[in-house]
C-alpha cells in the first residue's frame, strides 16, 4: 500500500499560488493573540475554519463560521470553533484556525487532477460547487496539456457556451486556460502528486480576477 499525505488548505494554497494559480487570501492563526494583527491585514468579511488534518467535514463539526466582519466577530468565532472541535472531535490534531477572505459570488468552477494508474496525471475541469458530482459537467485530458487541449476542455462542457458569451456573459476564458496549463506544469514537475481538487474556483465578469477558494492536494510519500 502506497503511503500518502495531504497538504492542508494553507500549504495547498501556497503551492498553487506559486504556480500562478490565484487563491483566496488565507492566514493561519495559531493563537488568540494573533487575531488583532490578522484583522488589520485582511479585508472583511472573512470566513474562519479549523485547520486540522483529522477533520474532513468541517461544517458538520461546527468548525466553519462565515461572514465575520470585525475583530470582535473574529474573537468570538475563534473561541466557538475551538470549543465545538473540542466537543465534537476531541482526538483531532489542531494546527490552528484559518482566516480566509470571503469571496463575492461568482461562477463556481472545479479544477482537478487525478493520477490514473494507467494514464498518469489526468486533468479535470467543469462546473464546480457542492453539486459537482451530481451535475457531472466536466471534461478531462491527459497531462501534459497543450493550449488546444485546454481550450477543448472548456468547450466540451456546458461552460464552453458561457465563456463564449451566452446571455451576455463576459467571463475571461484565458484565465481558465492559464489555470489549466499551470496545473499541467505543476503535476509535470511534481509526479508525487496523486490528487488535486480546487473547488470552487470562482471566476468573475468584467475583468475581475478569479480565485480558488478551497483546495486539497494528496501526495505520495517517498
Amino acid at each position: 500500500m502506497m503511503s500518502t499525505f495531504v497538504l492542508d488548505e494553507v500549504e495547498a494554497g501556497n503551492l498553487l499560488s506559486s504556480y500562478g494559480i490565484p487563491m483566496a487570501k488565507t492566514v493561519i492563526c495559531e493563537s488568540f493573540n494573533e487575531l488583532d494583527a490578522i484583522a488589520r491585514d485582511v479585508t472583511f468579511p472573512v470566513v474562519m475554519k479549523i485547520l486540522s488534518p483529522d477533520i474532513l467535514h468541517k461544517t458538520d463539526a461546527g468548525a466553519v463560521i462565515l461572514g465575520i466582519s470585525s475583530l470582535d466577530g473574529m474573537s468570538k468565532a475563534y473561541q466557538t470553533i475551538l470549543m465545538n472541535v473540542t466537543t465534537n472531535c476531541p482526538e483531532a490534531l489542531i494546527k490552528g484556525v484559518i482566516v480566509q477572505e470571503m469571496q463575492s459570488k461568482g461562477l463556481e468552477l472545479i479544477f482537478g487532477v487525478n493520477r490514473d494508474a494507467q494514464f498518469g496525471h489526468v486533468l479535470l475541469f467543469g462546473i464546480g460547487g457542492i453539486y459537482v458530482e451530481i451535475l457531472n459537467a466536466v471534461s478531462m485530458r491527459l497531462a501534459p496539456l497543450t493550449r488546444l487541449d485546454a481550450l477543448e476542455m472548456i468547450r466540451e462542457t456546458p461552460l464552453g457556451k458561457v465563456f463564449q458569451g451566452a446571455r451576455g456573459a463576459r467571463y475571461n476564458e484565458e484565465e481558465v486556460i492559464q489555470v489549466l496549463l499551470n496545473l499541467s506544469r505543476l503535476v509535470q514537475e511534481h509526479p508525487e502528486i496523486i490528487e488535486i481538487d480546487i473547488n470552487p474556483f470562482l471566476v468573475y465578469e468584467h475583468g475581475k480576477t478569479g480565485c480558488g477558494v478551497d483546495a486539497l492536494i494528496l501526495c505520495e510519500k517517498d
Partner: protein, 484 residues
C-alpha cells in the same frame, strides 16, 4: 523504409494448419476451406495424424515431416496437445529453422487463469524465446489478409464470394474472438459485403499485441482506416500515444467496452470520483483524435464512410430529402451534434432548385434543407443532388429517398451514381445516401455501392457516420492551425 516484421505474417511462404480436418463441424475444416475458397495462392499443409488427405490436400502427421518451407503455423488443436506440438516444432526448427509465425487459435490457455492454462501458454511462448517466432493469440480466431489471401479464421460468414466487394482499405483488430467473428459476419452481410483489408483477432496477446499491429497497419500502404474492438490494455498511455500518432495519418475508429466498470480505487476527492478508468479512456481518445463509437453498427458504417469517401472540407451538412418525415427525422439526428452547421446555399442554387423541382417542393425552408417531395422523378433526384453538391457552402449531403412504387429502384441508383461520378472531382463531396427502406431498396443501394458510394439503413446511421467524419476533419484542422 525497412519492411515491417509483421509483413511476413500476412505473406507467408507456406502455411501449416495443425488440426486440419475433413469434419465440417471442426474449426480445422473451416480454416482449410476458407483458405481454398479465398484462393490462397501459396502452399497449404494440413497436419493431422489420422486423415490421409484434407480437402484434397496431402496431410502430414507432424510439422517436422513437411519438406517445403513453412513460415506460418496455425494451431487449432485442443490446448492439451500443445506440449507434443511444441516438441514437434523444436524438431522442425533444429532441421529447417523456417517457421516465423504461429497463429494459436485454440483457447484454454492463460485466459482461464488456471495453473495448467498458464503452463500451456508458457510452453507456447518458448517458441518466441528460443527462435524469435512471433505469436498471435492464443484464444483468437486468427488473421485475414485479403490482399495476400491468407485466411486462418474458422468463421463461415455464409455469404457467397460474389456478394463481396473488392478488397477495401478497412483493417480491423479485435480483442474478442466472438466480436471479431460477428464483425466479419455483419460486414459480409452488408449490401455489398465488406472485404476487410487485414483482419486480426488478437486473443490473449501473449506476444503480438495492439501496439505491434497498429504500428504495422500504420505503414501498411493498403490500409486506409483502422477499426478496433477493445476491452482493455495494460499500458493505456503508451497505446494512446501510438494511436494518436497514427490517427493523424489514418483514422482510428474504436469500440471500447467497459463503460460501466467503476474506478478501481476508493475516491478521496471529487476529481477522483469523477475520473474512473473508462472516462479517462474516453478523454484520452478525444484528446488524441481517436473516434470512439457507441455500437457495432456505427463502427461498421463509420469505417465504410472513411474507406470510401473523401474527408469533408468543413462541418456544413445539407439535408436533401424526397419525403418530409425522414427529412425531419434526419434533421433531429443532426441537431444532436452542435458542431454540425447548416449550409446557407446561394440564391443561384435556390433558384436552380426552385425552377427544376416539383411545384410542391420546399427549398431551403428551413435553410440547409430541401424536400423535393415524393413526386420527384429520377431526373429531379439527380439534378437536385448535383445543384446542392456544386454549391460552395455545402461540405456534405445527407441524401434521403424513400423509393416509391413509381421509381424503378435499380435505375434510380444507377442514375444517381452516374450523376455523382460525372461531377468534377472537387464537387464529389461526401454524400450519405439513405435509400429507404429494407429489402425493397437493395437493388438501388447495390447500384450505388458498386460504384464506390456508401449507403445507410436510416438517417441515424448516416448522420453518425457524417459526424464522425466531421469530428476527424475538425481535429486535424485544429492541429494544423495550432501546430499542436
Amino acid at each position: 523504409m525497412t519492411e515491417h516484421e509483421l509483413n511476413g505474417l500476412f505473406q507467408p511462404k507456406g502455411i501449416a494448419v495443425i488440426g486440419a480436418s475433413n469434419n465440417p463441424l471442426k474449426a480445422g475444416c473451416i480454416i482449410i476451406n476458407n483458405m481454398i475458397k479465398g484462393k490462397f495462392p501459396g502452399k497449404l499443409y494440413p497436419v493431422n495424424q489420422s486423415e490421409e488427405n484434407v480437402a484434397g490436400l496431402n496431410t502430414y502427421a507432424r510439422l517436422s515431416d513437411i519438406d517445403d518451407v513453412v513460415e506460418l503455423v496455425v494451431l487449432i488443436t485442443p490446448a492439451s496437445a500443445i506440449y507434443s506440438i511444441m516438441d514437434d516444432l523444436d524438431e522442425r526448427m533444429a532441421s529447417k529453422n523456417d517457421v516465423r509465425f504461429i497463429v494459436c487459435a485454440a483457447a484454454d490457455y492463460a485466459e482461464t487463469k488456471t495453473e495448467e492454462g498458464i503452463k500451456r501458454q508458457e510452453r507456447l511462448m518458448q517458441a518466441k524465446d528460443k527462435y524469435g517466432i512471433r505469436i498471435i493469440g492464443p484464444n483468437c480466431i486468427g488473421v485475414i489478409d485479403t490482399v495476400s489471401r491468407v485466411n486462418t479464421t474458422f468463421v463461415d460468414t455464409g455469404v457467397s464470394e460474389d456478394r463481396f466487394g473488392p478488397p477495401g482499405g478497412i483493417s480491423f483488430i479485435s480483442q474478442s474472438g466472438s466480436v471479431a467473428a460477428s464483425i466479419l459476419a455483419w460486414g459480409a452481410s452488408k449490401v455489398i459485403g465488406i472485404r476487410y483489408n487485414k483482419f486480426i483477432s488478437v486473443g490473449n496477446m501473449a506476444d503480438i499485441d495492439f501496439i505491434d499491429l497498429l504500428e504495422f497497419l500504420e505503414q501498411d500502404p493498403s490500409t486506409k482506416v483502422i477499426g478496433i474492438y477493445m476491452e482493455g490494455y495494460q499500458n493505456g498511455k503508451q497505446l494512446i500515444k501510438v494511436m494518436g500518432r497514427i490517427a493523424r495519418k489514418k483514422p482510428i475508429i474504436i469500440l471500447k467496452v467497459g463503460r460501466s466498470s467503476k474506478g478501481s480505487v476508493a475516491a478521496n476527492s471529487h476529481t477522483s470520483s469523477m475520473s474512473g478508468s473508462d472516462k479517462v479512456y474516453d478523454a484520452a481518445f478525444r484528446q488524441y483524435g481517436i473516434l470512439r463509437v457507441e455500437d457495432l453498427w456505427e463502427l461498421l458504417d463509420t469505417l465504410q464512410a472513411f474507406d470510401k469517401m473523401r474527408l469533408p472540407d468543413g462541418n456544413r451538412l445539407f439535408v436533401l430529402t424526397q419525403a418530409g418525415g425522414p427529412g425531419i427525422y434526419c434533421s433531429d439526428e443532426i441537431s444532436k451534434y452542435d458542431f454540425i452547421e447548416t449550409p446557407m446555399v446561394s440564391e443561384n442554387t435556390k433558384n436552380q432548385l426552385k425552377e427544376t423541382m416539383p411545384r410542391m417542393a420546399a427549398i431551403c425552408v428551413p435553410e440547409g434543407y430541401a424536400d423535393i417531395t415524393a413526386s420527384a422523378t429520377i431526373r429531379q433526384h439527380c439534378d437536385s443532388l448535383r445543384y446542392v453538391l456544386m454549391d460552395p457552402s455545402v461540405d456534405g449531403v445527407c441524401f434521403i429517398t424513400v423509393v416509391t412504387p413509381f421509381l424503378p429502384s435499380a435505375q434510380l441508383g444507377k442514375e444517381l451514381s452516374d450523376t455523382y461520378w460525372s461531377l468534377d472531382e472537387k464537387y464529389r463531396k461526401p454524400v450519405y445516401f439513405c435509400i429507404m427502406a429494407g429489402e425493397a431498396v437493395i437493388p438501388c443501394r447495390r447500384e450505388l455501392e458498386q460504384t464506390g458510394l456508401v449507403t445507410f439503413d436510416s438517417p441515424t446511421e448516416a448522420v453518425k457516420a457524417a459526424k464522425n467524419m466531421i469530428i476527424y476533419n475538425m481535429k486535424r484542422e485544429k492541429e494544423t492551425q495550432t501546430g499542436q
